[in-house]
Amino acid sequence: MTLSTSLTFSHAAQQMRTIQDAITRTQAQISTGLELTAPSDNTATSVAITKLNSALSRQQSYLDTMSTVGDQLSYQQQAITASQKDMNSLHQLALQAATGTMNPGDRQNLASQMSSLRADLAARANSRDINGSFVFSGGRAGTAPFAEDAGGAATYQGDQTSIGVAINEQASVNVDRPGTEVFTSVARTAQDGTTRQVGFFQAIDDLIAATKAGDSSKITRGIGELTALGDGINAAQADVANDQNVVTQQQTLIQQTQLQLKKSLSALQDSDYTTTITNLQKESLSLQASQQSFAQVSQLSLFNFLK
């Protein structure tokens, strides 16, 4: 088979160009550290990489969310822990008031100590987070949940909206805690035998009034109510602690998932330096050989020998 001289030359040039292209691509793989220099190199891999990146981004957003949730839970935790202390002190004072050996001045003194504790409790119940939203008012983030009305009574002003936040594809945790779940109401049986629910602050206000008046039966009733109210706060604290555990566990889980995803992503997207550099050497060698053989072959003309 005889080929024309020009075709021989253009073939040689074409082959060198092909190797040159391969070298350029390999160099790009080395310098970017990525297997694919453009999505069109391998669309299927490129789409798989896109999907893994999406999954990673979603996991990251869950993780970000959980940090917000963790902050919210901390606000609740702080307020609840402080409230527990107040309740304990209040309980102590109420027991003193119930001893019956108090003179009116002492009782007034006790009552005013109780009032200041009650004011502190109200401040805790009306805690705000860093954005200025009330922690215990449900969806009514801009409404103080236990604001006092003109008569000094503090009934719950928030709502019962439970604000769940997704922490993975399936599960969610509640980021808010309606005030009535912490500062609960308590059942009170009147003398006529009827039972009605009395709000948290109403019960305390009634106890303070009884202390001032020295009404021992009402003080005793108030001590019972304080215990029930304290139970409510303790239960809320347990709930918050439980939620915090869920968040911590979930954070660990998501970090593990992220690690897995990153591994898979790296396997697809990162170029393998050993292979790539070997390829580069192979291709360079091939180019050099082509160039040298071309130089040789191009000298081979009959004319060179006709002298």
Binding site: S57, Y156, S185
Partner: protein, 927 residues
């Protein structure tokens, strides 16, 4: 003897030509399209002498062009196939790179958008997060627009390339036609100048790269070129004539491409273009660009409608339902059709992002149980569990002219029969019921929760059966006894004013209401009970048949008017009563030529011989006896004749309302002057009454009692119906249940969302299984239901309310429009959850996967085209080699030829020298 000198000289000439040809081959070694040439030598036969034949030298017969037609046609077809793939690879890769880029593709923008929604869901009142979400929405829209814009660039590039290719193809066709013209002068291809044939083949080779062509060769080397195989072939070049190809491309759909042959002349569609770069460009536009851009557009429009629907289903930080987040606008700001290129964000205020739910429940702080309720609103839930009778608008057309037109028949069982549902949103609805005293018909209207708004009260025993029958449309669990507002004074329900009876409102100037009746029905024995009817609240005394009415025809208008007048005067309402008895006969009905006599109240009127000469004569004849008959006649402007009872002071007030009888004294079967023959006993003409007042008039009572006065019953609901109302008909046992009904209404459309958000409700549990629903603002009882279960929850209008535990008796829950729920995240959570939902996009994919699918499809085309391109390159190289083998110039061959011919030349020159020496030898001998 041969001439040695001439042999030598012929050889020298021949080898000179051969050397020149070799030189020319070497010179054109790198000329594209050049075919190797060689001289054809032929020996010259010499003179023969016996058995001795000595040749006379050599002759150049021509320069032969090395050419292999089969190799050439293989080259052409492989050129076409290979060039089909080139643009497909190029543009499919461009699309993949535009859409699949890890940074600028849509996928990161979508991820970002959902991440921002997720972050906002953790702290919905945080305005910084709201801003972040809004800007992620803007980035998403920008991403859609950018990718769409890049696809447009790819589209424009491919369009320009296609047009350039076509222009080149058409120019080549014209060149080929010119070459054909030059070739046409020769007779054989071998005799044609090789350069011309080379040019022809070079043009064909270029053309084949652009489009798959079929070439047919004429013996003289001319060629015809067609596109497509025999059968569906379109001729492009025929002899010296070339036909151009034109293209029509759509501006909106890249895949819509039509090729035409000879677009300026006799244009014919070209659909046989299957290979070559032009076909490849068309294919990549159809298979890659079109699906990519339309897929992106539908993704943008779907995404926008889904997010906007969620947005509309939530409340923003101002407590209002969300407005659309995405819209479609052209760069100049005008609204545009949904497309990725026009996707824009419509909201600029982050507070307008609807993060919260439309409704919420607030348990009363003093509730004994810790049960909480959740509320969902569904616009689609407008169809309740028990739809009840069909909507009014589907049964009766809006007929403000108020002529009861549609026949109605209700079973006379006393059981309520569902007639229609008046849908929420109807304004100023009015139902007119015409019956007669024997009809016994009446209407009743209830809410779906059993509050009776109109009509006589139902016996408690019947209430239970009514609400429990599923076809009646009452809410399941509706508790009895039912609340009856129909008996309450004022009869108003949620802003709706309700009246029932015959009524008229003042109109015109001076403002005066008139309430006309139809002619009183012919009854056999009827009466009105004491208090059964009331005019403007004044009860009327009994109208007893036996006391006042002789005969079997019931009361005359005159008697009814007297009774009304006496009853009203006693209570002194400002209502005037009038009565009249009239009968109008149209001009065409009169038989003036008749000679048959007729009588009026027994007074005979006999026509003159040959009949009356005019209607006026007839009227004169009637009026001539009016004094005794009590019936007068008048001729109206339209020529009709009206008969009416006259006022008779002796008969007392309202005597214009007396009945009169048209008789047939001769019992003739022929028509009298008044028209048709009167039956035996005559025709009774009854009167009607009219009530007038300077204020409104309302006559209240059952429809069948109103019918006794010739009045129609009207159920009037003034204002906007705030919730579906159920209309029932009932007929008393023993009645015939017949009547006609018509309706007037304005269907203004209804937004249940706005309505329900503006009306907070209170749900109160009255026992473990019963509850009431009241309007929280007014305390109006809306529903009282039994049969509550935790599994079913509560369905009220478009709301579905569920409880997470067992409510205690006395627990109250307020359901409101969440106007101050800035901390609620229900809606933005739903946006964040969109990312993993597979039920919203085609083929059960998530939005990201729907997008990745578009990229993958383009990638598949690119991969296939790349593989095909590699395979076809091998084929093409083979074809090039085959052609090259036949026609290429090899420098070594030429060098050898050069030496070969040079040596031959030198040898030939030597023969001349030898000849010369021989000549000299001979010359010396002579000398």
């Amino acid at each position: 003897m041969s001439d040695l000198l001439s042999i030598g000289s012929s050889a020298v000439q021949a080898y000179q030509a051969a050397l020149a040809t070799v030189s020319n081959n070497i010179a054109n070694m790198n000329t594209v399209g050049y075919s190797h040439q060689e001289v054809s030598l032929k020996q010259v036969g010499g003179s023969g002498n016996g058995t001795l034949h000595i040749g006379a030298g050599v002759l150049v017969t021509g320069v032969k062009r090395a050419w292999d037609q089969l190799a050439q046609s293989n080259l052409l077809s492989s050129n076409s196939s290979l060039n089909t793939q080139t643009p497909m690879v190029k543009y499919a890769n461009q699309v993949v790179n535009v859409m699949g880029d890890g940074q600028s593709g849509l996928s990161p923008a979508l991820d970002n958008f959902f991440s921002a929604a997720q972050s906002l869901s953790a702290s919905p009142a945080d305005s910084a997060l709201r801003g972040q979400y809004l800007s992620s929405a803007q980035s998403l829209a920008t991403s859609f627009r950018t990718i769409a814009g890049q696809l447009v660039t790819v589209e424009q590039d491919s369009r320009a390339e296609l047009q350039a290719d076509l222009e080149q193809f058409n120019a080549l066709g014209q060149q080929l036609a010119l070459v054909n013209g030059q070739l046409s002068t020769g007779f054989t291809a071998a005799a044609q100048p090789p350069a011309l044939l080379d040019e022809r083949d070079h043009i064909l080779s270029q053309m084949s790269g652009l489009a798959g062509i079929e070439v047919s060769y004429a013996p003289n080397g001319m060629v015809n070129v067609g596109i497509g195989h025999a059968g569906g072939q379109a001729t492009i070049v025929q002899g010296m004539k070339a036909r151009p190809i034109g293209v029509v491309m759509s501006d909106t759909s890249p895949g819509k491409i039509d090729f035409l042959v000879d677009p300026q002349g006799s244009a014919t569609a070209l659909n046989t273009l299957t290979s070559g770069s032009i076909a490849g460009l068309a294919a990549v536009r159809q298979q890659v660009l079109d699906p990519a851009s339309s897929g992106l557009d539908s993704l943008a429009s779907r995404m926008s409608s889904i997010v906007n629907a969620l947005q509309a289903g939530g409340i923003d930080a101002y407590g209002e339902p969300g407005s659309p987040l995405f819209g479609f606008h052209a760069p100049d700001g005008h609204p545009a059709q949904p497309s990725a290129a026009a996707l824009t964000v419509m909201i600029t205020d982050p507070q307008k992002i609807a993060a919260g739910a439309l409704f919420r429940s607030i348990g009363d702080p003093t509730n004994a149980s810790a049960t909480q309720a959740s509320v969902t609103f569904s616009a689609d839930a407008a169809t309740p569990q028990r739809p009840g009778p069909p909507p009014l608008g589907r049964l009766l057309v809006n007929n403000p002219a108020s002529n009861p037109a549609v026949d109605l028949k209700v079973a006379a069982s006393g059981i309520l029969q569902p007639l229609a549902t008046v849908p929420a949103g109807y304004r100023n609805t009015s139902l007119l019921l015409q019956t007669n005293p024997a009809g016994g018909l009446d209407l009743r209207i209830f809410t779906r929760d059993g509050t009776q708004l109109l009509g006589p009260t139902l016996a408690p025993g019947d209430q239970k059966a009514l609400v429990e029958n599923p076809v009646n449309g009452f809410a399941p669990g509706t508790a009895v006894p039912l609340q009856d507002l129909a008996r309450a004074a004022g009869s108003a329900y949620r802003g709706l004013q309700i009246t029932y009876g015959a009524q008229a409102t003042p109109m015109g100037d001076p403002a005066r209401a008139t309430l006309p009746s139809s002619p009183l029905p012919v009854g056999t024995d009827w009466s009105v009970a004491n208090g059964a009817l009331a005019i403007n609240g004044t009860s009327l005394p009994a109208l007893v048949h036996t006391a006042m009415a002789p005969g079997a025809s019931g009361f005359s208008a005159s008697e009814v008017a007297q009774w009304l007048q006496s009853g009203l005067r006693a209570n002194d309402p400002a209502v005037a009563v009038a009565a009249s008895t009239t009968l109008t006969l149209s001009a065409s009905n009169l038989k003036l030529t008749s000679s048959v006599p007729f009588s009026l109240n027994g007074v005979t009127v006999t026509p003159p011989a040959g009949g009356f000469s005019s209607a006026a004569n007839l009227a004169d004849a009637i009026n001539g006896v009016a004094g005794s008959s009590g019936v007068a006649a008048t001729i109206n402007a339209d020529g009709s004749l009206t008969l009416q009872s006259t006022y008779d002071p002796a008969a007392g007030p309202f005597s214009e309302g007396r009945d009169f009888t048209i008789g047939n004294p001769l019992q003739s079967s022929l028509p009298s002057s008044l028209g048709m023959p009167a039956p035996q006993g005559g025709t009774l003409v009854r009167g009607s009454i009219r009530l007038a007042s300077s204020g409104a008039i309302a006559v209240n009572g059952a429809a069948s009692d109103l019918a006794k006065l010739g009045l129609r019953a009207e159920a009037r609901l003034s204002g906007t119906v705030p919730e579906d109302l159920l209309v029932f008909g009932a007929a008393a046992p023993g009645a015939n249940g017949l009547g006609t009904i018509s309706a007037a209404y304005q269907d203004t459309g209804f937004d249940p969302l706005t309505e329900q958000r503006s009306e907070p409700l209170t749900i109160t549990f009255t026992s473990p299984s019963t509850y009431t629903i009241t309007d929280a603002k007014t305390g109006t009882l809306l529903a009282s239901r039994s049969g509550y279960s935790e599994a079913m929850g509560i369905q009220y209008r478009n709301l579905s309310i569920r409880f997470d535990g067992t409510p205690a008796v006395g627990d109250r829950f307020r359901i409101d429009g969440n106007q101050d729920g800035q901390g609620d995240n229900a809606n933005i959570r739903a946006v964040a959850a969109l990312q993993t939902r597979t039920d919203l996009f085609p083929n059960r994919q998530t939005v990201n996967d729907a997008y990745n699918g578009i990229v993958s499809s383009a990638g598949q085309v690119s991969t296939q085209a790349t593989i095909a391109q590699q395979a076809l390159t091998v084929v093409n190289n083979q074809a090039i080699k085959a052609v090259d083998e036949a026609s290429g110039v090899n420098i070594n061959t030429e060098a050898a030829d050069l030496i070969r011919f040079q040596q031959a030349y030198q040898a030939s020159a030597k023969t001349i020298e030898v000849a010369n020496q021989l000549f000299d030898t001979i010359a010396q001998l002579r000398a």
